[in-house]
């Protein structure tokens, strides 16, 4: 069974068990961004749903990719953990990797450098960002999903050697960054089971865009 099939099964199981709906409605806010699985999304009146007059229903161009081809490119990690690979990493290993590969840009213990500050918590009720242009948005006080740290670090970092980190390394770095933000303990180990269970402090603050045009400024 290839990774993609496993993943599809995992998603299907999650949907069947209601896990997806729990995950996506348990906190207000971004849960509202999509109704989740099993809801037909496109009405027949959806623009583009039907070919324009004169077009065939299919052009039969391109080729069917192999499961291996899909798996090789299918690197994204979903907020429920779908896509997370085997492997694990510790805060301790992450600290060593961070000092070697990340500190130069992001500063000692994620405190910021030439590039983004990564560490920093605020009291749970405090969210100064809309009022204070100088407040620093960090993983701990702004990012809504812990899985995004894994996804982004693995695909884009470090900037001079993107994609060079192994899965265990990425788990370790993710663990260390979460530790710096007081979200896991110093002796924590992260893997595909534990990472998606971490609830980020700002998760509930994400809300859909409410701008709609018209006279009101939002």
């Amino acid at each position: 069974m290839n990774r993609n099939t496993r993943r599809a099964l995992r998603i299907r199981r999650a949907v069947t068990s209601g896990l997806a709906s729990v995950l996506f409605t348990s906190a207000c806010g971004i849960a509202n961004l999509g109704p989740g699985a099993e809801t037909p999304s496109l009405p027949a009146s959806q623009p583009g749903a039907h070919p324009p007059p004169g077009d065939p229903s299919h052009f039969a161009l391109g080729r069917t990719p192999t499961a291996q081809e899909i798996a090789a490119w299918d690197i994204d990690i979903m907020p429920d953990g779908a896509g997370l690979p085997e492997g694990s990493g510790t805060v301790t290993d992450g600290r060593a990797l961070y000092i070697q590969q990340c500190k130069q840009c992001h500063g000692l213990e994620g405190g910021g450098g030439p590039f983004d500050r990564l560490a920093g918590r605020l009291p749970d009720e405090s969210f100064p960002f809309a009022l204070d242009p100088l407040a620093k948005r960090t993983i701990g006080n702004y990012w809504p999903y812990a899985t995004t740290i894994f996804d982004y670090t693995r695909r884009s970092m470090p900037m001079n050697r993107p994609g060079s980190l192994g899965d265990d390394d990425v788990y370790a770095l993710t663990a260390y960054l979460l530790y710096l933000n007081d979200l896991v303990a110093e002796d924590a180990t992260l893997d595909r089971e534990s990472l998606p269970k971490i609830v980020m402090p700002a998760h509930h603050r994400f809300t859909p865009d409410d701008r709609r045009g018209g006279p009101e400024i939002r």
């Binding site: 961004l33 496109l42 623009p47 583009g48 969210f127 809309a130 809504p144 995004t148």
Partner: protein, 407 residues
């Protein structure tokens, strides 16, 4: 052979021109389009011959501003009409511009589809092509702390307009067959950031394009060569360049680019996510800093655009917003497109303050910066800031940007 601007080659260039003109069929020399030396009377000396590639006049040198290695801004105040020359189109990249062989590049479409598909560029070129003229704007397109010596390019040069050509994404999604629970798709680039954004299926089916051409030729590398996603009216970052993968899903993917970045804190303690649409906006492009005015007639010119549809009105004030008059809109006024507005104006001396205010077909009126801050909070930066901006005319005719504090 390219035109050579270096002075040591001026004579040789001239000899080439003469040789070309002397050749009976004009085949002797190609590639020289301009004489380096300026004729006192161009009607008395034969001009330059044919060339393989055109070039700007030696008197014209519009340039982008390139900053931090990742961003290049369009010289709005040096351009006319509504189409941005391709080499002056703004750019923003997140891990540099990749070098991609179009012969081996493929687009994968998979996920909640009936038939996963891999398409080459050659495949894409065989599908029905669509073209449209539309603006593309970075959602972080306002320098909020700009000083008075600021050009429109410096202030908000991260907006440009092209004719984009490619395959309607709806055509490709019909080809693969969406499953009933398809709600979102991930668009992913093959740059070193492997930049990825979640796009609602409704937009993908409505007017999204997998574009392979810009202004009649293949995309520029900085615009996503060989293919990019183009989403009319939506923030630049979502228009994923160097597109290599589309994964259809029942929910958003929550990538770093749509959570940690490209989201806006809003007063009251929320974060606005998936704020794709660019609200209506306008900016006067001339006269502005660094121009100096002479007394008499001028034309106030600028650009207005909205990600929600057509611009229906642009008003101009020359007295700091006390009085407004309607500017002319140069047609055809296209939806989700830069629209040129103009207003003849006579400067009789004295100070003046020039501002513009756009209205779109939804009835949205471009806000003041105070209205934006009141609605969202002064910390709601740096995305989706579209305030009315103003340009000051000093008593001696010098022009300055009206620098105002943010907050």
């Amino acid at each position: 052979m390219k035109n050579d601007d270096s002075s040591k080659n001026a004579d040789w260039t001239r000899r080439q021109i003469l040789a070309a003109l002397a050749a009976s069929a004009g085949t002797a020399v190609a590639g020289v389009s301009q004489a380096k030396e300026i004729a006192k009377d161009p009607t008395k000396i034969p001009g330059a011959g044919a060339s393989k590639l055109g070039a700007r006049s030696n008197f014209e040198s519009p340039e982008r501003i390139a900053a931090f290695g990742v961003i290049s801004g369009t010289p709005l105040h040096e351009l006319h009409g509504t189409l941005t020359p391709s080499d002056l189109h703004f750019e923003r990249h997140h891990a540099g511009i990749p070098s991609i062989d179009p012969g081996s590049h493929e687009l994968l479409i998979h996920g909640l589809v009936e038939r996963p598909l891999k398409l080459t560029l050659a495949d894409l070129l065989r599908f029905p092509a669509v073209s449209r003229i539309a603006f593309l704007e970075c959602s972080g397109n306002l320098q909020i702390d700009a000083g008075e010596e600021t050009t429109p390019q410096n202030l908000c040069g991260l907006t440009s307009q092209s004719e984009w050509t490619g395959v309607a994404l709806s055509t490709l999604l019909r080809e693969v067959g969406l499953r009933p629970n398809a709600q979102w798709l991930l668009a992913e680039g093959s740059d070193a950031a492997v930049l990825s954004r979640s796009i609602p299926i409704e937009k993908a089916m409505d007017d999204a394009i997998v574009a392979y051409a810009q202004n009649g030729e293949a995309l520029r590398p900085g615009q996503g060569y060989p293919i990019r996603l183009f989403l009319p009216g939506w923030e630049g970052n979502a228009n994923v360049k160097w597109l290599r993968r589309i994964e259809v899903s029942d929910r958003a993917f929550m990538t770093r680019e749509e959570t940690s970045k490209y989201s806006e804190p809003i007063k009251g303690g929320t974060i606005r996510a998936f704020s794709f649409t660019m609200d209506a906006r306008s900016v006067i492009t001339t006269p502005t800093y660094p121009q100096s005015l002479e007394r008499g007639w001028h034309e106030i010119r600028g650009l207005a655009w909205s990600g929600r549809g057509r611009i229906t009105k642009v008003e101009v004030s020359v007295d700091g917003g006390r009085n407004w008059q309607d500017a002319r809109l140069a047609g055809p006024v296209l939806t989700k497109a830069h629209t040129r507005f103009t207003l003849p104006w006579k400067w009789a001396g004295g100070t003046a303050e020039l501002s513009s205010r756009a209205t779109d077909e939804t009835g949205y009126v471009q806000p003041t910066r105070r209205a934006l801050i009141d609605a969202r909070g002064a910390g709601s930066i740096p995305y989706h800031l579209n305030p009315i901006v103003s340009w000051l005319v000093e008593a001696d005719g010098r022009m300055l940007y009206k620098a105002e504090p943010w907050g």
